[in-house]
Symmetry: none
Subunit: 321 residues, 2 copies
């Protein structure tokens, strides 16, 4: 059943022993949104916790926003998770048992009992902010967690998903004490030796197809080893190919430790829908940014099929709005 943020707030207020699920390869939006929710729920005197894969280093500050809390989960909430396939391994046991989903992906598969999905929101944090406003006080740390989601999912207010509402939310969060500048610096201006080396290695694989309308890049396990980079150091790299002038579709394939290949697509949504491309391979996301996975095939094979599919979409006159 589809519900509003206000109803979501009421449901959360009515329950206890709440477990908040985040998606695999967690980003700033799934984490910022979940930690903000958890903090407010704990402040309301509830038992609540966030279940996630290990936090990328730059999001570790969020852990201090909540208290450790052990309980038997009674109410399961998925945050920023478009479909159950995106649940991390730790959360597989909750498949089919999710009570509430708060999300902003248009491709949300409505797997939860109740779902509160606003596809016009640039970040899940915008939807969570509405629910939290209905629930009570938002302090500066909660606001900072939400700001983390808002700024990371919009590339610091740069992407096409930004709406008047996005800036309105940013304005309100800053008024509530969100440390916007600190977070932006941490997210967008902090390089490491390892990350820079990984970027250099990834950029060396850039190839262009279809009259330079498609740019392809890959990040192999060997590159991660050579650079000493962590998996979190790949964040933002898939955005690079699309920034090259003339490129309509940027495809980045990353080899994960378990051999799974994760493809990230960034596209000019007016020309080629990233979610259309990724949905051909069982993935999904937004028109401008989407992802999919491959298992059991070599990287070169995944590259070929994705480039062929992107070519086909482009040659058929692109995506129609």
């Amino acid at each position: 059943m589809e519900i509003t943020p206000d109803i979501a707030a009421r449901l959360l207020a009515e329950h206890d022993d709440i477990l908040l699920l985040t998606h695999s390869s967690p980003d700033g939006d799934t984490l910022g949104s979940a930690y903000a929710l958890c903090r407010v729920l704990q402040q309301l005197g509830k038992r609540a916790a966030v279940l996630s894969e290990e936090l990328p280093q730059k999001f570790e500050y969020l852990q201090e926003y909540i208290l450790p809390c052990e309980f038997t989960p009674e109410y399961i909430v998925a945050v920023d998770i478009a479909e159950e396939g995106l649940l991390p391994e730790e959360a597989q046991q909750y498949k089919g048992k999710i009570n509430l989903c708060i999300d902003h992906h248009i491709s949300n598969s409505h797997y939860a009992d109740k779902y509160c999905v606003e596809p016009t929101a640039a970040a899940c944090a915008e939807v969570v902010f509405k629910a939290l406003k209905a629930m009570g006080a938002i302090d500066s740390l909660t606001a900072t967690a939400l700001f983390t989601g808002l700024t990371t999912d919009t590339g610091c207010f740069r992407y096409s998903n930004v709406t008047p509402q996005t800036h309105q939310t940013a304005s309100e969060l800053l008024k509530l004490g969100a440390q916007g500048h600190k977070i932006n610096k941490l997210m967008f201006e902090t390089n490491t030796k390892q990350r820079i080396k990984l970027e250099q290695l990834a950029l060396s694989t850039l190839e262009y197809f279809c009259e330079d309308k498609i740019a392809f890049m890959c990040i192999t396990r060997e590159m991660l080893e050579l650079s000493g980079a962590q998996s979190g150091d790949t964040e933002g790299l898939p955005s690079i190919p699309r920034t090259i002038s003339g490129v309509e579709v940027g495809i980045t394939i990353r080899e994960k430790a378990d051999g799974v290949l994760k493809a990230s697509v960034r596209s000019n949504e007016n020309v080629c829908s990233a979610s259309e491309l990724c949905s051909r391979f069982g993935g999904g996301g937004h028109a401008a940014a989407a992802g999919c996975s491959f298992k059991g095939i070599p990287l070169d094979a995944a590259k070929v099929v994705m480039i062929e599919a992107a070519k086909e979409i482009l040659e058929n006159g692109g995506t129609r709005a």
Copy 2:
């Protein structure tokens, strides 16, 4: 006399034959603010024009927002100009004759007859927006011109000058039809294949010294040839080494076509003054960014002497403020 944006709006409404001055080396804020003002004044049936140095290519679209208009200026308005010394050559004749100044620099020297200065505004465009709201309709192109000022002066809402009001203004401008995404893309996402290739080649030369406090990178003529990059494509590259965490001094040496070596230093000014380092080799600049040149020695030799000098500064306890 200090006045509010509302009074500034009234003064503009009361006058005609209005000339809007912009500062030398014009940026997005002085231009976006002046063109927005000019557009509204022209829509109100007034004769108005913008006086500026030649527009940098990426701001050329602003020229289409106003009509050419010739007249003898009766009312002179300085936009985003902190002091008369910043007037371009074309505007020198108006020194001491400026009727109104709209600005946001705390250092504004109050050189105009009336001045409307709001130092808490992140961009002059925020102050102009207030005045224009008091004057009448703001259409989508006016909003886009103002958005240009807002986003360029805040590094796309990333700098420490951003306030709740900044995001509030952005929200209102988007509601008025500002093409925020298009402008952000134009200002912050203009990569070329050649530039990306050059960046990759340059990054591959990164080396670290002095417990990683010094990072060194070079850009050779061979790299320019290999990548097909133009000398303008090197812009911004020397900033990269210093963004790496732990690095206090980033040194980039670029080989020019005539064999001259240009060194660019970016540093944490509290630890090692870039201008002190460069002055040892006949160069200079600011504490955080400086440069120097070498002629007749090989790149490797220039690298060695610069790294030795940087080491010495760091090992002597760094620059004292």
